[in-house]
Amino acid sequence: MEISVIGSTQAKFVKADSAYRVLGFCSSRRYDDVLSRNSRVCLGQPSIRLRRLGLRLTVRAVHTEPALPARVSTDRSAASAPSRSRPNNGVRLYVGLPLDAVSEANTVNHAKAISVGLKALKLLGVEGVELPVWWGIAEKEAMGSYNFSGYLNLAEMVQKAGLKLHVSLCFHGLKQPKIPLPEWVTRIGENEPSIYFSDRSGLLYKDCLSLAVDELPVLDGKTPIEVYQDFCQSFKSSFSQFIDSTITGISMSLGPNGELRYPSDHGQSRNLKIPGVGEFQCYDKNMLALLKQHAEASGNPFWGLSGPHDAPSYDQTPSSNGFFKDHGGSWESPYGDFFLNWYSSQLASHGARLLSLASSVFSDADVAVYGKVPLLHPWYRTRARPLELTAGFYNTERRDGYEAIAEMFARNSCKVILPGMDLSDEDLPGEALSSPQSLLRQVRAACRKLGVDVSGQNSSDRRVARGGFEQLKENLSGQEGSVDLFIYERMGAYFFSPEHFPSFTAFVRSIYQPQMDTDDIPDEEVVGAEESVPMASESGVHMQAA
């Protein structure tokens, strides 16, 4: 008898421990959440009362068995009903793992550093980490031969650290660090370059497949969509042990750099102070065939022979050629409208294909599916917004191109990840007529309108500019609608360096600060507490105030 009591006590204790591991020290708000729904607390009480009660119950909750399922179910309901926004603004913070966390040989790179780093993040109260899973590594050698061993090891490390995992399935390659597409795909591409995007001059973009081949059996008799689907299935079964617990979200790679876009900037020179407008990428064999088909169907067969002839080249400014001119540019002509409509709808359909694939594969799992929409802010303050046009977003001064995108996400019950939340207009050179803030506002409004949850990211792999954390805070503050999840890119030497880490720490703390700020206590409560404090005169110790 005696022993059994002890036994169960200890068991509970262990549970309590793990529950807190999951929580981190800053997440008490989420418990409020659970409690306000699951316990018989009168919601009409003053909020302070509720919080206080909630918090006290919290401690109890970790003692009793129902606590864990209760919390998980909250996650579930949030995950499976993406259209319902979270009841509070508590953003879940994730940090990206190094891009090359798993080597080409499927081993974990810098495992020691990552495990130490995970500990630090856990202590800091970060909820989880983002792990890029590369097609070129997990299905490297032959179609259908998957090797997730390195990623599984990492997932286990993450789980052990008590962190959550957001997995990005990357069907694209990378230049820096060099992560190519699978070898067998590259071999096919050598004989059949039309699987890649091509620009006007025939320059290929080899870090992802052209969206025009999505449904063509170019990969040894299979279509890329089928190959992606098999990959997702295989991932799902390999990670089944993590999927209902550690893994909370999946990002589906939608194109270059994982983003829904054309690689319109791939021929651009790096480090231009003012980025050029980029180029249309509709010149591979299959894209041109689709364009031709579409032109013929719409009764203008001559429009289907090529892309716009008067578009500037990669590094040029909008007005350097006719197409994007603010006044009298071809983009405003019927031809321009025809082309841009087609070009952007191809991108949207591609996105829809991939997202519906992902959401069907993961429909029976407790994970949310995400897709990344780029923040193409340079030249936003022109009428044509050429950078967005070449990337495939028909978003001009007069036409909202993002509603269609948001609608596509909503249809597939997916959430949008928006990068560049750290960018503010002041940071950028004025000459580029850039406005990341306005663009972000526009995209967020479109998402809000269609009930799509927005998640955030900092500008990809670039160092968060000075002042960037302030901008992040503002964007996460909920004034523009809630942010469901924020992924901070990315762990590495710079991330932990003395130049960066202290400000990141301050940032994390400031996000959570409101919850621990004593300002939250209504004044009369404070006064009341003070009054009830007896002073032990001989020792001067506050006894009850603690």
């Binding site: 009660l53 119950l57 401690v59 550093a113 500990k119 202590l123 130049e499 009830s532 020792s539 603690a546």
Partner: protein, 898 residues
């Protein structure tokens, strides 16, 4: 009337066992009594014996409530961890033996415990302060040699003194004709690991006339018996190796101890006693059970504890979860008094037949909770993790809540600072515990801010440590992807936070030595003569040379950090010097070399990486990435200095020891702040740690690396260089300033080549650190390395006054080099200083650059001072101010607004 047995809730708590065991046998209904009972006074009984179970029998007088055990609705045992203070004394006695040839030294202690005498001797012909092992004949039985320089002998229980006090002592026989000059020792407490020294130094009993002449440490006093200071009545400073509780309490107020016993050269016996305070960490517990009376529905709370002595429960009840204290309705237990109408105080009844005490409380059914704290020994308060103990009472008998998980109870001790110390040291119990504590801290809205902050701090420190580790591994193992580093990074204005690092903001620093200062062997005494003069010149801070024993005479190759006898003078001369500066209102900076330390011993491979002295670290304290020294620590968090083992600051024990050392220097010597040597060698976050521990008035770090040059020409833009310095300051969280090496470098180029345009950056601000973070910039033109007899990077000759005209009129904290103070520049420098003071130019003054051309640079500071340097022409414009020329020298002019 019947009896009820109440299950004892006490067991003697051990750290590992956090759960209490319950018996679940049932007893029949029983009436209970509230009759006052005489308390058996156990006095100050401490029981450290094995767990016992006691049966407490309470007799009932009147019928009150009845219950049986099935009605127990809440049970919990809270561990109590607290520190008891036991006072006693250490005595040292030197007797004559049977004949004049034999003497006997007795060292004893009156507090029970496992005491060890850790001792060694000095021989007559010894130089330096190293210990040696005593001759075998001197070693009492049971002695164990420690390395090759010390002996450890346990103190044995001696016959009682007759007063009921046990004595622990050890006797050492000394032949007076032996070559032993002195016996050195410390007393070690094996149970706690604490060392007891005498005023921060080893005890020393000289046996023969000290051979050295005046000028030696304490030889000047030529005393026999104990060393000076010995008779000063002060508590021994107890250097606790775990926890820092008592350090601050050691009273050192009485230091006037210059009454050496002037004896002649024959040895005299003596007897001396010193008070000793031992901190005993104790583990007790308090158990609470709540039962529901079936008939009256009242709550019956049984509280018991094994705490020794009188235990007072300070308690109240609450009606809701806000936990507002209320006084419950009577009846209250016996021995209860009302405290300020806000709480009740009940003295617990001593249990019969066993140590500990208990009490029953009967409370109405409509209460939500029972709140209490415990008091023992008059003024030690025990709480639950910094909060009140809270026992939930069920209104309806069904739901019971416990807000307890059996984590360590933190003790609120005698005062606030101790409270924090204890909770801080509990960090080692594990990160998760802390997180949980924090959660509960955050949860309980009423939590004192300081506490929460403290716990957060310790978590943040842990995070920083982990981050530093992750950084060093990532950095060494990854190709970083920084090729495309965005250089848009604008210098942001760091927060203008007034902090201790800058002193008053009006400081003017003097570097009080040069590369030759060690030569005379009496620098401290020489500098003392100049204190008044330096003060009258207008200096507010002086930077003294590194004080520790060093392999190189200049002091920058420290060895035993606690040995402050250096080529500059003795520890006493240093103390005296500091005192002298303080008398003339000059603050003193100690030169702390934290980056590296010279070893005392070789490891098995013959590499010098094992340390001796008081901080006897092994090779874990040495960074791993310098192959010369085969360290076993982590990789360095900064650059390596290759001449000596670089200290691994990521090791907890290293940081703890260094913090202790810096605090000791602050206290023992009276340093007000630090000049930190070679801070490039380790992460600024650690510096922050050290400064927060030692709380200096002013700190400046030496972060010296190369400026950028293209084809031998210095680049105009030195932003990268100053950024590195600013980054370091940032890493210290602004707790330290740094020498503005950038400004010095740019002044070199500007003056040497007549390129005064260099003195304005692209934004029209000063191009050095002083342009970005003036309050943290310590501007200088020369130091012992760059100038003096080393001349590694000498300021352009003959142009020094232009440099001083610049730094002494500009924001930042200017530092003047000793060689310049005592040179023909003195009067010019003095005029500049007095002009700076007169116009109240401070480290954050606003500078407007008026001209930065080929041959002239001119600026107006705070609209009060105008200056120009360079051969070119400049006159301040006549605007709202009327300028009058105040100073003129070779290629510089300064005006004041009138």
């Amino acid at each position: 009337m019947s009896t009820v047995s109440i299950e004892p809730l006490i067991h003697h708590h051990q750290r590992e066992i956090r759960r209490f065991r319950f018996k679940s046998s049932a007893f029949g209904p029983a009436p209970l009594s509230c009759r006052p009972k005489s308390r058996c006074d156990g006095g100050r009984l401490c029981s450290f014996k094995s767990p016992r179970r006691a049966l407490a029998v309470v007799r009932a007088a009147a019928v009150v409530e009845t219950f049986d055990t099935t009605d127990v609705v809440f049970r919990e045992t809270f561990p109590l961890e607290w520190t008891d203070t036991v006072e006693g004394k250490i005595f040292v006695k030197l007797d004559k033996g049977k004949n004049e040839q034999n003497w006997q030294l007795t060292v004893g202690c009156t507090i029970p415990g496992k005491w060890i005498l850790h001792w060694g001797v000095s021989y007559v012909d010894d130089v330096g302060s190293e210990w040696d092992q005593p001759p075998t004949g001197m070693r009492p039985p049971g002695s164990v040699p420690i390395k090759d320089y010390a002996i450890e002998t346990p103190l044995k229980k001696a016959s009682s003194t007759g007063e009921g006090i046990d004595l622990y002592e050890v006797k050492i026989n000394v032949k007076s004709d032996s070559a032993v000059a002195a016996i050195n020792f410390v007393v070690k407490d094996e149970e706690t690991g604490a060392w007891y020294q005498h005023r921060g130094r080893d005890f020393k009993v000289p046996l023969v006339d000290y051979l050295h002449d005046d000028g030696n440490v304490v030889g000047a006093k030529r005393g026999f018996g104990l060393w000076p200071g010995w008779r000063a009545f002060g508590q021994l400073s107890n250097i606790l190796l775990k926890g820092e509780a008592s350090q601050s309490k050691a009273q050192d107020s009485i230091s006037a101890s210059s009454d050496p016993k002037q004896e002649d050269s024959s040895l005299e016996g003596f007897y001396d006693e010193l008070p000793l305070v031992k901190q005993l960490p104790l583990h007790n517990s308090v158990g609470v059970s709540v039962r529901k009376c079936r008939e009256t529905a009242k709550n019956i709370i049984y509280l018991e504890t094994d705490l020794p002595g009188d235990v007072v429960v300070h308690w109240g009840v609450c009606r809701d979860d806000a936990k507002n204290w209320e006084i419950p309705a009577a009846p209250h237990p016996p021995e209860t008094i009302l405290f300020k109408n806000k709480a009740l105080r009940t003295l617990l009844k001593q249990k019969e037949g066993s140590s500990g005490c208990s009490e029953l409380f009967t409370l109405d059914e409509d209460l939500a909770g029972f709140l209490f704290v415990l008091r023992i020994k008059e003024n030690i308060w025990l709480k639950y993790m910094g909060n009140d103990f809270f026992v939930p009472l069920s209104k309806s008998s069904s739901s019971v809540q416990s807000n307890k998980d059996s984590e360590a109870t933190h003790v609120s001790g005698k005062g606030e600072q101790e409270n924090e110390d204890v909770s801080g040291s509990a960090f080692t119990d594990g990160i998760i515990n802390e997180i949980r504590n924090l959660v509960s801290d955050i949860s309980s809205v009423k939590t004192g801010k300081t506490k929460t902050k403290k716990v957060q701090e310790s978590i943040l420190q842990e995070i920083e440590k982990l981050a530093a580790e992750a950084y060093s591994i990532f950095r060494s193992s990854t190709p970083t992807f920084s090729e495309e580093a965005v250089l848009l990074e604008e210098a942001t204005k760091p927060p203008l936070k007034v902090s201790s690092a800058t002193g008053s903001g009006y400081e003017i620093l003097c570097q009080g030595f040069n590369w030759e200062s060690h030569k005379s062997g009496r620098w401290y005494m020489e500098l003392k003569e100049k204190a008044k003069q330096l003060s009258s010149l207008g200096f507010t801070i002086i930077w003294l040379p590194p004080p520790t024993e060093s392999v190189s005479p200049e002091g920058y190759m420290p060895k035993d950090l606690y040995n402050l006898n250096s080529r500059y003078g003795t520890i006493d001369e240093l103390r005296d010097l500091v005192k002298n500066f303080h008398e003339v209102d000059i603050k003193v900076l100690g030169d702390a070399v934290l980056n590296h330390r010279c070893a005392h011993y070789k490891n098995q491979n013959g590499v010098w990486n094992i340390f001796g002295g008081r901080l006897s670290w092994d090779d874990r304290a040495v960074v791993a990435d310098d192959p010369h020294f085969q360290g076993r620590g982590n990789k360095s968090s900064g650059d390596n200095f290759h001449a000596a083992p670089n200290i691994d600051h990521s090791q907890d024990f290293v940081r703890k020891d260094l913090k202790e050392w810096m605090c000791w220097l602050r206290k023992e010597i009276g340093y007000d702040g630090w000049r930190l040597d070679f801070v490039r060698g380790f992460w600024g976050g650690y510096v922050k740690d050290y400064l927060e521990a030692s709380e200096p008035y002013f700190t400046v770090g030496e972060f010296w690396d190369s400026l950028s040059y293209t084809y031998g020409d210095m680049d105009h833009n030195q932003d990268a260089h100053r950024q590195r310095i600013v980054d370091w300051i940032n890493a210290t969280n602004g707790t330290a300033g740094a020498f503005d090496v950038t400004t010095k470098g740019i002044l070199h180029a500007a003056l040497e080549r007549c390129e005064y345009w260099r003195l304005s950056d692209e934004k029209g601000k000063p191009p050095g650190v002083v342009g970005w973070w003036p309050s943290r910039a310590i501007t200088f033109i020369e130091n012992h390395d760059t100038g003096s007899t080393q001349g590694h990077w000498r300021f352009p000759g003959g142009k020094e006054m232009q440099g001083y005209a610049y730094i002494l009129t500009h924001p930042g904290t200017p530092a003047v080099f000793y060689d310049h103070v005592f040179s023909h520049y003195q009067s010019e420098i003095a005029s500049l200083i007095s002009l700076r003071n007169r116009n109240k130019i401070h480290c954050r003054s606003i500078v407007k650059i008026a001209k930065a051309e080929r041959d002239v640079y001119a600026a107006v500071i705070d609209d009060k001072v105008a200056m120009k340097i360079g051969p070119g022409h400049y006159e301040p414009p006549s605007g709202p101010q009327r300028w009058s020329q105040a100073l003129e020298g070779r290629d510089y002019k300064v005006w004041e607004a009138s």
